[in-house]
Symmetry: C2
Subunit: 546 residues, 2 copies
């Protein structure tokens, strides 16, 4: 049956255009051409210049035959070239594939082949490993060297040799600054490709679409509280979920990107003080770097800076330290498959009045759905029924909505599994609290089953973090003939602090049921990913050999 509201009221170009973040940059550049879009060392780029360079890049790519559905791979730090790629690549309807700059040659080669890379842009910091990867890969992309003009004199890593066919700057300059700024044919078209870290098996290629990226830009702007012309410091790698979509987000309010090659305390404080940074994102390790900076590296600043963190919930002591240092911390949660953050710990004013540990309990929860996410649930993956919202019953965290990926590239099986039952299965385990906030308990493989009882490794780690000497920790299962598994704690102590195994175990006993306390404590450096996540799988491997 067709009703009156469905007749003569069809889509047409006047009332239906594809959603795309490309629209935001055009608007920012035309409205605020003189506002600073990018700061990088001594370099400044206005929105007019940034827009023109993105068009030049697009034009140069088009001249090399790059077009719809082609993959442009980049191995870049948080530099202006990386920002330009976020716009210049999709303008020619190609797909931006960002490599994690810490990957080894074998994984890079796998990704280049799997993504069918046509063009590869490489920062000279990474030329050696990329050269090696190209030797292993089957594809033979056009290779372009990016020679960062602001490569710091005190660089912790030296520049590598040129390995490309072309130089990035020459390539961009060959393009037309008035190249047509095209929207995608369809908002469902792919905009970017990000591989999961793939702790087991080959990494999976997560495909984002223009629709999701456009909506994330709105939601980030709103949830991060970005007013006109925010100043954003690039401490989160842009290769990580496209920097949680902030390269696109900043265009909504014509904000300033402050680039940063390496996350070190002094340049962070300098940027905050000198450029008036209002927002930054990063893993807890970035917070530690800020808090534990040498006094000589710290700077005074007047503004309150919003720090969005994800991954592990921030320990209470870190939150207190951040507040003292002038940062307002928001805890987010998401996965590569959800464009980065899709859950926000919406903070309630009345919680400010709670005592410190109760506040930390609230702060540790992952929270509620982003405005742009339509569904967030904790479910039994077998029955697809929601677990009771009692804060205790563990289920799998599931997502549904427009900021969930298109799927995994060339991997129908994994895609179908991930979307079984019409929800995205995160693989993360959590609980739903009575007030609708979710809290992660563990990934299924992180649950320790001891004597038939489930032990949440996160709960044990939370207890460990309350010990004043603990800088970082990870709790994993160790085989035990009697109990099946028992928890073993890997602990990294703060510089100059000491604690014995017995002390640590005693500390846990004061906070946890006895069966949850670690039986073994090993003092060691904790392995972390390039984005600051603790590599539990490495610890599990180590525990096997105990």
């Amino acid at each position: 049956m067709t009703g009156i509201y469905d007749t003569g009221l069809e889509h047409n170009p006047a009332n239906h255009q594809p959603l795309s973040p490309l629209s935001y940059l055009e608007r920012a550049a035309r409205t605020f051409p003189d506002i600073t879009a990018v700061i990088h060392g001594s370099l400044r780029m206005t929105y007019a210049q940034f827009f023109a360079r993105s068009r030049r890049l697009a034009s140069a790519l088009a001249a090399k035959g790059v077009g719809k559905g082609d993959t442009v791979t980049v191995m870049l730090s948080n530099t202006p070239a990386m920002l330009e790629a976020h716009f210049g690549v999709p303008v020619v309807k190609a797909v931006l594939h960002s490599l994690n700059t810490r990957l080894d040659a074998a994984i890079i080669a796998f990704q280049l082949d799997h993504a069918e890379t046509k063009v590869l842009i490489v920062d000279r910091e990474f030329s050696a490993v990329v050269k090696e990867a190209l030797g292993l890969a089957s594809v033979t992309p056009l290779v372009i060297d990016y020679d960062d003009p602001e490569y710091a004199a005190d660089a912790p890593y030296p520049k590598g040799e040129r390995i490309g066919d072309l130089d990035y700057e020459t390539f961009v300059r060959s393009g037309d600054p008035d190249f047509a700024w095209s929207m995608p044919d369809d908002e469902w078209d792919a905009i970017s490709l990000n591989y999961t870290s793939g702790t087991t098996g080959n990494p999976k290629g997560v495909v984002y679409h223009h629709r999701g990226a456009a909506l994330m830009a709105y939601a980030n702007t709103i949830h991060a509280g970005m007013g006109r012309h925010p100043v954003y410091l690039w401490t989160l790698p842009m290769f990580h979920c496209n920097g949680w979509c902030f390269p696109w987000t900043l265009a909504v309010q014509a904000g300033t990107h402050v680039c940063l090659r390496w996350v070190r305390a002094k340049p962070m404080y300098d940027a905050i003080a000198d450029h008036g940074v209002t927002h930054l994102c990063g893993a807890p390790v970035v917070m530690s770097t800020l808090i534990n900076a040498a006094d000589a590296d710290k700077r005074e600043f007047a503004q309150t800076v919003t720090f969005n963190t994800a991954a592990a919930p921030p320990p209470e002591s870190v939150l207190a330290g951040m507040a003292d240092a002038g940062f307002a911390v928001t805890h987010l949660y998401g996965l590569t498959e959800t464009y980065g953050p899709a859950v926000v710990n919406e903070w309630k004013d009345e919680w400010d009045g709670l005592e410190s540990s109760a506040r930390a309990t609230r702060k540790a929860r992952q929270g509620v759905r982003y405005a742009a996410l339509e569904g967030l649930a904790v479910m039994d993956p077998k029955t697809m029924e929601q677990t009771p919202p009692d804060g205790e019953t563990i289920g799998e965290v599931m997502f549904r909505g427009n900021i969930v990926m298109k799927g995994y590239l060339k991997n129908r099986k994994a895609t179908d599994e991930a979307f079984a039952g019409g929800w995205f299965h995160s693989g993360d385990l959590g609980v739903m609290h009575p007030d609708g906030y979710i809290q992660l308990k563990d990934r299924s493989k992180d649950i320790i089953i001891s004597g038939g009882e489930n032990i949440s490794s996160i709960e044990v780690e939370d207890a460990l973090y309350k010990h004043p000497a603990v800088a970082a920790c990870g709790v994993v299962a160790r085989h035990d003939d009697k109990w099946g598994e028992t928890p073993v704690a890997y602990v990294e102590l703060k510089p100059g602090r000491h604690a014995s195994e017995d002390e640590i175990i005693e500390h846990c006993r004061a906070l946890l049921a006895k069966f949850k306390c670690p039986r073994t404590v090993i003092f060691d450096e904790i392995p972390k990913t390039s984005t600051g996540k603790i590599q539990k799988f490495v610890l599990r491997e180590r525990a096997k050999s105990l």
Copy 2:
């Protein structure tokens, strides 16, 4: 050719959900159940209560057989019932049709029949005219009386009799507070219907869709600078373009609606001071009411209040008065067909340093596209080519994007004309300035052609407003045997101020070319629409009889 990014990456419920503002209310209610959603006189409703009542309304409508594509018409002031209707009606996939409360019985009857109204909810203030309209109309909707419990004792209009089959409160209470909160089947489905004022011929029914309403909510939040829990005062009628979509917008940041039946100075100041209002919208007449309020009605308040205005550009003196009174004015522009505002005068910090008249010149421009509007242009409607951005060449203002209506209900011809060439033709004439900001010059019928020269009536009105005694004015064409047309000015003086015809004409000569100056000045009350727009067509009628 199907590429790798189009294979095995289709839509499914996990990664594609219809965009709808309904999603925001559910999120606000679940996340912030205890935050105040609605204030109306002594009434307070939390988000949990507001959500439950919207579900009850939906449930009660469903029980009466109201469903997809049915029209629910409301004749309501800015009351809680009107807010509930903005959510409760679309939840059952019906379409909300809001009647302008100033309409006469004949037009109401026309709209009821044209919209095929199934249910009609009527505030008792308007029962007499609606009863008359029902006598004229062919449709026989279920009629529900809304008896506002906060109908003020000092009401300027008395309550009318009950004319309905049911009482609203009883009706809502009959519904289920746990009724399923359904999203639309498709984001293109209609959410609301708003008739144009139809100064010529029958009014046209402008149909909005869920997609546009959802995107407007983001864009309003961002452009109005709404942080967490804004407090919004309802001075703009909700029947006007669905209150520029703010009934839906507020849910994004879980803001508080402060209802207001009648726009009068004292309750406005009381609400601002007592409830901490952060935002309000309205025509320039609302600003005049605030500025010209008696001292006894004014209140002190600490916060800066954002006032969004549209329609005529605010005169310089009004802007200065508003700034003095603690309001930050943003000038917006749009039409019923663009969900209300789709253009924003993005203000640049450097303009604050300009001298007063230069600032006013900037403030008078309509501006640039909303982030959610994909295209804004000034074009020659015959060639569909953009006029040069010289600030002088007049063309028709055109819109394109996702906040443009589905079309006109049951009016294929008008819809096709409006969307000719893939752009929405606004009928407004304007220029594009070199910096990309548009400025309205006139509607085509408002241009006065004198001796073959075009005279912009807005330009003449701007000059008139600079006279200190002028409170309101309208300039229209008068037939002239020699010149074809000459401008005649209708002027309303401020209370207690005086000016002669000669003085006014002399004042204009100092500011305008002689041929643009009014030949005749008539001192009279200026007729305005219920939304504060000056009724040029009334003035044109009066000028005919001169």
